[in-house]
Symmetry: C2
Subunit: 574 residues, 2 copies
C-alpha cells in the first residue's frame, strides 16, 4: 500500500515539502490540508502587491512559468492532493490521524497518515489595545487581507495610514502606501529605533532619515495605546505622545508561531511557543515533521535556538523535511538570520548578530563602522555605502555584518558573502582576504567588505582607537559631555571652513590630511583630538602618525562624515 | 637607526605594502622604486578610461577623496618616498642593496635595505609574429599606452580595431572601442571559446552571442599569424582563416610574471616563472618579500599553486606583506580565482574551478546548469540568469560557480557568496541551505544559488539524468548523432507548435507539463525521451514521474531553452 503523507499548511514549507517528497516517492499519497482557499502564495510579496508593483494577486500564487498554483495545478502537475478550506483540528498520534473540518460546511473527517508534517506557519501579533477590532485595522496575515487593503486604497478610501511596528513588513507596507498611492503614512515604533535587533542604531538611523526624506512620518519610542474609531471605523491612533489621524491601521508588530495543534498533541514546544525539531525537521514524535514559521532553528553564530519566520528558510526547511520523509537524511543545520530590504531608493541588509544582540549573547562584541565606495571610485556609477561589521574581540570571529546603500544588488552581494562566511565561522582575517570578484564596474580592488575587516583588525589589535557614533553625536549636541575634546578635521579646508566658523577655533581645528606630518606641532597638546574625515580611513592614518610623534591622545570617528550625513543631524552647517 | 624598507614596484601591491608598513612602523624609512613616472594607478580601469567612462587618466591615479597619488602625495600624506623613473637593475642579497639607475640620466646608485619587497608585476605576452613591432600595435601594459590609444581614437585615427585574445582584458577593450567610439571591432581568439579556463563553453557562448549582437566580430579557434602593415603602420591582421583590416591591433594575449630581478638574485622561481612565496609573502630569502602579479599563490580548491594576476589579490597580498615586514604574522592563504566582467548590457562571473580545469586537475567533476529567475518572479525587475555549478561527485564538494545575467550586482552577489563558501570547502548540501538574504526585490525564496545546489544534489544522487548542452546542440544539428532520441517538449503548446512543425512529430512530441500524468501512455515506448522545458526544473519533475511509470529512458536538458536562447542557435524556429 502506498505511504500516506499528510501536510498541514499550504504556504511555503508545506507545498515545498509536499512536492519534494512526491518527486522522491511517486507512489506515496501526499495530501496538503489548508484552512484557506488561497494558498501556496508568496507572502513576502504582499507589500509589492499592495503598492501595485505586482498588479494581480494571482501573480503571487503563480509559478515562474505563469501557472496558478491552485488545487488543479497541484493535482495535475505535482500529483499532490490539496484539501483547501479544510481546518486541521487535532492530531491523534496513537491512531495516526488528523481530525479536520470543512470551513464551509463544518463537516468533520479523520485523515489517516503514516507521516505527518506540520507547517502551520505563524500568526501576526495583535496588540491588546482598545480599538484593535475596528473596521480598518489590518494585520498582514494572508492574501485576503492584502486584497482588501489594496481594494480600499484603489477605491480612494485611504488618505491616511498608520503602521504599528517598524520592522521589515511595517516599513515595506509604509513604502507601499506612500510611494505609489501617495497615502499620508506614519510609522509608530515602540523601540527607540526601527528594525530593532536586526540592525544597530547607525544603520537604523539612516533608513529612518531616508524614509522621512520620502515623507513617511516615523515616531520612535512611542507605544500604540489606543486605536480610535467612530461608528465602528478607524479614525486614528493614540500613542503615549500624540494622536495620529488614520483611515487604516496596519498592525505589523511581529508574528508568533502557530503551534497549538502540535502542543495539544503533546509535541515538544519551546519556551517561546515554537515547535521543537531536530536537524532533520523531526518533532519529538519521529513520525511527525515540522518546518517553516511554526518552528525554531539553530542560530549558527550564537549556537542557540531562535525564531526566524522567513519564507526563504521555510522553503529550505521544507525541502529537508521532504527529503527525510522519503528516507534521505538531509539536514538543516540552522541559520544566520540574513535580511535585506528595499526602502524607496536605498536598501539595507544584515546577517548574523547585531552588536546589541551579540552583547546580550555574551560576546565581547565590538563594531567596525565604515563608509567606503561600493565600486572603483573612478567608475561613474560609484556610490558611498555604509557597513557595520560586528566581531568578537576574544576570538576575532566575525559575528555579523550590516550594510546600507543605494537600491540595487550591491549590498546583497556583501551580505550574502558574509552570510556564507559567517556560517562557517570566519574570522576578521578571513574577511580581510575574502576574494570578492573584482572589476571596476562591480567593486573596488579592496572591496568594501575587506575594508571593513581591515578596520576590525586595527580595532581588535588596539591600533585604531575610536569613539562611537553615539558619543560623537552626544558631544556635537553638547560639548560639555566631553570637555577636553577638540575636533581635528583633516578634510579639505573648503569643507572644514563652515565647521570652524560655526563651532569656533577652540573646538574645531583644521589641518588637511596631507599637511599633518608637516604641521602637527600646531596641534593643542593637552586635549583629546577627535580626528574627523569623510570615511574614517584617513583619520586612522593620521592617528597612527600622531602616535609616533607622542601625540597619542586621539580618537577616530569610524565612518566619518559619510556616516553622519546619512544619519542626518540638525547641527550640520549649511 | 630606523629600518630601511625598499619596495620595487609602484602599482597595487607595492604602494599598498608601503603604506601599511609605514602606518605600522612610522619610524621606518619606506621607499618605493618605480621605473615609470606614472604609478599607483588602477590598471583594471584602463578599458574604462579608453572607453570614456573615466574621462581623465588622473582619476585612475587618484584617491577616493580626489588627491592624485604622485610623489608629493606619498611623501606628505603617507610618509613614503617614491623614486619614480628609477629602474631596479639587480639585488645584492649579501650586501643587502638594490642597484638602480635613473631612466632619464642613466645615473646608477646602490640603495641599501633591511627588508626588500619585490612587486614588479607582470608584462603582457607579445606574440612572436611578424609585424608585432608596427606602429599601431599595443599591449595594455601601462598608463602611457592607454593614453596613446585613447588619443588616437579621440583624434579619429581609429576606424577599425582588432583585439588579439578573448580574455577579460580583450573583451573589455573591444567593448570600449565599440560601445562609446563606434570603432569597427573584431576579436581573434586562438581557443575555440572566449574566456578560456575561466568559464566553460555554455557561458562563454552566451557572452560571445551578446557581444556579436552588439556588433563586435568574434573569430574563435583562429590564431593571429601576421600583423600586416604599410609604411611601418598597422593595416590589418592575418589569421589562419582570414585577413581583417585594422588601424590598431591590441595584443591581449595574457601576461607573464616579471621576475627576472628575483631570478638573477637566486630567489626561488616557479616552473612558470613566478616568484615563490610562503603565506607571509616571504621569498626564499627571509629578508625579501614579494607580492602581486610577479608571484604565484595557492589555489584553495585545487591545492596547487596558480598564477592569478589580479589587482584585487595584489592589494590583499600587499597588505599581508606590509604586516609581516612590520612583524605582524598575517597570512594570505590563497585564492579561488574570482572573476567578474561587464560586457555591454550583461555581466559574467566565475569563482573556483571551471569544469574543464576541474577535470584536468583530476576531480570527478560534473556540472549543474540552471536558468532561473534572479529574484521573485513576480517582481517587475526580474530577469533570467544562468548558472553553472561545478562539483565533485566523489566528495560532493562544490568546486566552482559561473554566472551570466543582466548588468548589475546580482551575479556578483552569487559569485561572492560562492567564493566565500568554496574557500571554506563547502559542499552541495551547504549550498542548498546557504542563506541568501531574501526579499522579493533582491532574490527568490529559493535563491538561484540554492536552486543550483538542488540540481547538483539530484545529479549527484543519480535522481536527475541529463544530457549535456553540447550533446543536445549536436543532436539538433544532426538527428543521426542520437538516432533513438525524441524530444518531449513540456512547454505550453503555443511554444512547442513551431518546433513540432519544423522538426516533425516523429522527433518532437508535445505534452504540456501539467498533462503528462494523465497522458504519459501516449509517449513512444522504445525511444530515449529528451525532456525539454524553459529552465530544466519542470523537466526533472517529469523525469521523476515517468520513472515511476516504468518510463525510465529519459534525459533532461539542464537549463532548457532559457540557456539555448542565450547561446543563440540557427535552428531556432522564428
Amino acid at each position: 500500500m502506498s505511504k500516506k503523507i499528510v501536510i498541514v499548511g499550504g504556504v511555503a514549507a508545506g507545498p515545498k515539502a509536499a512536492c519534494r517528497v512526491k518527486r522522491l516517492m511517486q507512489d506515496a499519497e501526499v495530501t496538503i490540508i489548508d484552512q484557506d482557499t488561497l494558498f501556496s502564495y508568496g507572502g513576502c510579496g504582499i507589500p509589492y502587491y499592495v503598492s501595485g508593483d505586482v498588479s494581480d494577486e494571482a501573480e503571487l500564487r503563480s509559478t515562474s512559468f505563469h501557472m496558478v498554483r491552485n488545487e488543479d495545478f497541484f493535482e495535475n502537475a505535482k500529483g499532490v492532493i490539496v484539501k483547501s478550506g479544510t481546518r486541521a483540528l487535532a492530531i491523534d498520534r496513537t491512531a495516526k490521524t488528523v481530525k479536520v473540518e470543512s470551513v464551509v460546511s463544518g463537516e468533520k473527517l479523520e485523515i489517516p497518515y503514516d507521516t505527518l508534517m506540520i507547517a502551520t506557519g505563524s500568526r501576526p501579533f495583535v496588540l491588546p489595545i482598545p480599538g484593535n477590532d475596528l473596521d480598518g485595522v489590518f494585520t498582514i496575515s494572508d492574501l485576503h487581507k492584502a486584497i482588501e487593503i489594496k481594494d480600499r486604497i484603489a477605491k480612494g478610501k485611504v488618505g491616511k495610514a498608520v503602521v504599528i511596528g517598524g520592522g521589515a513588513i511595517g516599513l515595506e507596507m509604509a513604502e507601499a502606501f506612500k510611494d505609489l498611492w501617495g497615502v499620508e503614512t506614519a510609522i509608530v515604533e515602540f523601540m527607540p529605533q526601527i528594525l530593532p535587533r536586526i540592525v544597530d542604531f547607525p544603520l537604523a538611523s539612516m533608513v529612518t532619515k531616508h524614509m522621512r526624506d520620502n515623507e513617511v512620518d516615523i515616531f520612535l519610542g512611542e507605544g500604540a495605546e489606543e486605536i480610535l474609531g467612530k461608528d465602528g471605523k478607524v479614525t486614528g491612533l493614540r500613542t503615549g505622545k500624540r494622536t495620529i489621524e488614520a483611515d487604516i491601521v496596519i498592525m505589523a508588530a511581529g508574528v508568533r508561531p502557530r503551534s497549538e495543534i502540535a502542543a495539544e498533541a503533546g509535541l515538544q514546544i519551546s519556551p517561546m511557543g515554537a515547535i521543537v525539531v531536530n536537524e532533520r525537521m523531526q518533532t519529538s514524535d519521529p513520525s511527525i515533521y515540522a518546518a517553516g514559521d511554526c518552528i525554531e532553528v539553530m542560530h549558527l553564530v550564537s549556537g542557540k535556538k531562535f525564531y526566524a519566520p522567513l519564507g526563504s528558510l521555510a522553503n529550505k526547511e521544507g525541502r529537508v523535511a521532504g527529503d527525510n520523509m522519503a528516507g534521505i537524511p538531509s539536514t538543516f543545520k540552522g541559520a544566520v538570520g540574513s535580511f535585506i530590504m528595499k526602502a524607496f531608493d536605498i536598501c539595507v541588509g544584515a546577517t548574523g548578530l547585531s552588536l546589541e544582540v551579540a552583547k546580550a549573547e555574551g560576546f565581547d562584541a565590538d563594531v567596525a563602522l565604515t563608509a567606503p565606495s561600493d565600486r572603483a571610485h573612478f567608475f561613474p556609477t560609484e556610490a558611498v555605502v555604509c557597513f557595520q561589521m560586528v566581531f568578537d574581540r576574544r576570538t576575532r570571529r566575525v559575528l555579523g555584518l550590516q550594510g546600507f546603500g543605494p537600491m540595487g544588488d550591491g549590498i546583497s552581494a556583501r551580505i550574502d558573502a558574509a552570510a556564507a562566511y559567517i556560517s562557517m565561522g570566519a574570522t576578521i582575517d578571513d574577511f580581510g582576504t575574502l576574494e570578492m570578484a573584482y572589476a571596476p564596474p562591480f567593486s573596488a580592488a579592496i572591496d568594501s567588505i575587506n575594508a571593513s575587516a581591515y578596520v576590525a583588525d586595527n580595532l581588535c589589535d588596539g591600533r585604531l582607537r575610536k569613539t562611537t557614533l553615539e558619543s560623537f553625536l552626544a558631544w556635537m549636541e553638547d560639548f560639555s559631555t566631553q570637555p577636553d575634546w577638540v575636533a581635528l578635521d583633516i578634510r579639505h579646508p573648503k569643507e572644514t571652513a563652515p565647521f570652524m566658523e560655526k563651532f569656533g577655533a577652540d573646538k574645531w581645528v583644521s589641518i588637511p590630511y596631507n599637511e599633518v606630518r608637516a604641521r602637527y606641532e600646531e596641534l593643542p597638546k593637552d586635549k583629546t583630538l577627535l580626528i574627523l574625515c569623510d570615511a574614517g580611513t584617513r583619520s586612522f592614518e593620521i592617528q597612527s602618525f600622531l602616535e609616533s610623534v607622542n601625540c597619542a591622545n586621539t580618537l577616530v570617528l569610524s565612518g566619518g562624515f559619510n556616516m553622519v550625513r546619512r544619519i542626518g543631524v540638525d547641527w550640520y552647517p549649511q
